[in-house]
């Protein structure tokens, strides 16, 4: 288990030490492949908890860790092509930072201790902020500053929430520990007002990290200005581990008998995120910012599924995987389109399907997948969340959910079709920036995975999703 945490860190050190600008991205590839191999071995071996129970491959980790690893590997391949084209930029911090990020995300996924979890989440913020500034432009600086400030505030409040939970268990006979196993075993012995207050602060803190409305203000700027590669990792990886962190907190709340309170808050925030995404998605003039609002929407869907519990929670776990992989397709394809046109404004970019014969159609297919069109896998996870809502008699919630999904489909579709269709002659063009196998192949592979998961979901995986949902008291 230590291997998957330390290997990327060691390679990050190598990346910082290597002087050659051209060879350095290979460290990314090596880190991704080693991590994927390590995660596969862990998945099959089902090791016992290590470090006194602080790290464990629990069902939640079994859901999110393989997805993160695959996404990182694909992005690492893409980075070979991307960084070769941006040879004039120093990529030392970029490559090193991404590898540290991989390590931090792994710790979040495996961590069973709320303090360690918090430290690792903070580390994901610190490593990604300088990466957003990769373009060294005033706009990317503004995005990095907002991201750092908003996320640091969220993280500080999350620490306060963690302290509240620790205090809840500090009474006589309490667990006096932040280990999930101890906290859930203590159950109703935890002081309930402090558990509630702790949940509120942690929801705000980790909700900021996930980008749930109304705490999403950093998201459109950061995703809009960051390289597509980083956007894919932020919206597929970092937000997903933020969701896992929140799920762990819900686990404690359920055990303490406060689940009704926590679930209502999650359902409310989930619906609010979807509503807000719908409003900002209509008439969006910048296709990368549009993707950011799509990310707000999908974090809302995850929070909603977690809040509804039962079949919907299992659907939310499945959706974590689907959203992560599909966001990879969308951001990498959008990055290719952005580079080829030198613009991400909808009124300047048209005819991407003709100019970029792979990335253009991929962007369209990714849009269809992410908005829940069959046979792609997000359709099935979004459907099972709807099923969970209606099955538990929450007709209003189910109805609003369907309504927002359809508004978003129409709003996002209008923007995507403007980008993909039409005649590219006359649109701005950056020479020597067409599709190559290294830049268009990775998102194509991810889309294949999304399609495959939609057509055939192994029973093994379904069981893992159900086990993860049961963990959060589904």
């Amino acid at each position: 288990m230590f291997f998957v945490i330390l290997a990327p860190l060691a390679l990050a050190a190598v990346a910082f030490a290597v002087p050659s600008q051209g060879r350095r991205p290979l460290a990314l590839l090596a880190g991704g492949l080693l991590h994927l191999a390590g995660v596969t071995a862990l998945w099959l071996a089902r090791p016992a908890p290590v470090l006194g129970g602080w790290l464990e491959l629990d069902p939640l980790a079994r859901v999110v860790l393989p997805m993160t690893s695959v996404l990182f590997c694909v992005c690492a391949v893409y980075a070979q092509g991307y960084l070769a084209r941006r040879a004039e930029r120093d990529n030392r911090v970029f490559v090193g930072g991404l590898l540290v990020l991989l390590s931090a995300m792994t710790v979040v996924a495996l961590s069973q201790h709320l303090g360690l979890l918090w430290v690792a989440i903070e580390l994901t913020t610190l490593t990604t902020a300088p990466l957003i500034y990769f373009d060294k432009s005033a706009r990317s600086l503004e995005a990095a500053w907002k991201y750092l400030l908003v996320c640091s505030l969220g993280i500080a409040l999350a620490l306060l929430g963690t302290f509240f939970l620790a205090l809840a268990g500090a009474g006589p006979g309490g667990p006096r520990s932040l280990l999930l196993a101890d906290l859930t075993r203590a159950g109703v012995a935890l002081s309930s007002p402090w558990v509630r207050a702790g949940f509120v602060f942690l929801l705000v803190g980790y909700g900021t990290k996930m980008g749930l409305a109304p705490l999403h203000s950093w998201k459109p700027d950061a995703y809009g200005e960051a390289p597509g590669l980083l956007g894919a990792l932020l919206s597929g990886g970092v937000t997903s581990v933020g969701f896992i962190a929140l799920a762990r907190v819900v686990q404690v709340c359920s055990a303490a008998g406060e689940s009704a309170f926590a679930r209502d808050a999650l359902v409310g925030m989930g619906l609010l995120s979807m509503a807000l995404a719908a409003v900002f998605m209509i008439g969006q003039r910048d296709f990368k910012r549009m993707l950011a609002y799509s990310s707000v929407e999908h974090m809302g869907i995850l929070a909603l599924g977690l809040g509804l519990g039962g079949a919907a929670a299992s659907g939310a776990m499945f959706h974590t995987v689907n959203n992560g992989l599909t966001k990879g397709v969308l951001f990498l394809a959008a990055g290719n389109i952005h580079r080829s046109y030198g613009s991400k404004r909808v009124d300047e970019v048209r005819g991407a399907a003709r100019r970029l014969p792979i990335s253009g159609p991929l962007f369209l297919a990714g849009f269809l997948a992410v908005t829940g069109s069959p046979p792609f896998s997000p359709f099935f996870s979004e459907f099972s969340i709807l099923n969970g809502a209606l099955g538990s008699g929450r007709w209003v919630v189910g109805g609003l959910y369907l309504f927002f999904l359809s508004v978003i489909f129409v709003g996002m579709g209008a923007t995507v079709l403007k980008v993909v269709q039409g005649d590219p002659t006359g649109a701005p063009e950056v020479p020597a920036s067409g599709d190559t196998w290294l830049t268009a192949g990775p998102p194509l592979l991810l889309l294949g995975l999304v399609l495959l998961l939609g057509l055939f979901l192994p029973r093994e995986l379904k069981l893992v999703f159900d086990a993860a949902a049961a963990r959060v008291g589904g």
Partner: protein
């Protein structure tokens, strides 16, 4: 008896400094006040936790707070305002008098909240929770109501000070790792912010975050 009078004095001073931070426009004075608050925090573990916690942890907390919150970060900030030659917060988004009033409301709410929440460990000092929450509130207020990047960083520092005060409730059983993480992360966060600030300055020739407003919908 004398001891507890001193302890109460420290808590009251921390809250008074909160008000000073909200009311002052001269950045140098604000940074000094934040440094003084950090130094006061260093006294707290000595006064509160010395009989329940191992001496090593108490000293680590106390010296850590003094060095990081009282000396290193204020120095970095002073260096930053000297480099960028800025002296004062000219136009706060929320004026100084309204911020003071909001601060007062926050302190009242913090006391109301903490009397409504029964402490699971009644042997702890009753002022810890209200002081911590007032300071967190002050920090949040500073971050959202000030325009200069330096003022926002100070706000973040003050917020972290509040969290630190709350952490004192847990110092007898929280593993040292978490506490070290707190100080290190604070340092790292502000350090990175400092670097970014430097770039903002070079890019826009000013440290005014109002100029950072190209990105919006």
């Amino acid at each position: 008896m004398r001891m507890s009078a001193w302890t109460e004095m420290v808590f009251i001073l921390v809250v008074v400094l909160d008000f000073f931070l909200l009311a002052s426009s001269r950045l140098k004075a604000v940074i000094r006040a934040a440094a003084a608050q950090g130094a006061l925090l260093a006294v707290m573990p000595l006064l509160l936790a010395w009989h329940t916690t191992e001496l090593g942890h108490v000293l680590a907390l106390s010296i850590g707070a003094l060095v990081v919150k009282g000396i290193v970060i204020p120095r970095l900030l002073l260096w930053a305002i000297r480099e960028a030659s800025i002296r004062r917060e000219v136009e706060p988004i929320v004026g100084f008098i309204p911020s003071l009033i909001l601060g007062g409301v926050g302190v009242a709410l913090a006391f109301a909240f903490s009397s409504a929440m029964p402490l699971p460990t009644p042997e702890q000092h009753a002022f810890i929770v209200p002081t911590a929450l007032s300071t967190v509130w002050t920090g949040l207020l500073l971050v959202v109501s000030r325009r200069k990047a330096v003022s926002q960083v100070i706000g973040f520092l003050v917020l972290e000070n509040g969290v630190f005060v709350f952490g004192l409730l847990l110092s007898d059983f929280m593993p040292a790792m978490v506490e070290a993480g707190v100080l290190l992360d604070l340092f790292a966060a502000v350090f990175v912010m400092g670097i970014v600030m430097f770039h903002i300055n070079r890019e826009f020739s000013s440290l005014d975050t109002e100029k950072l407003s190209v990105l919006k919908d």
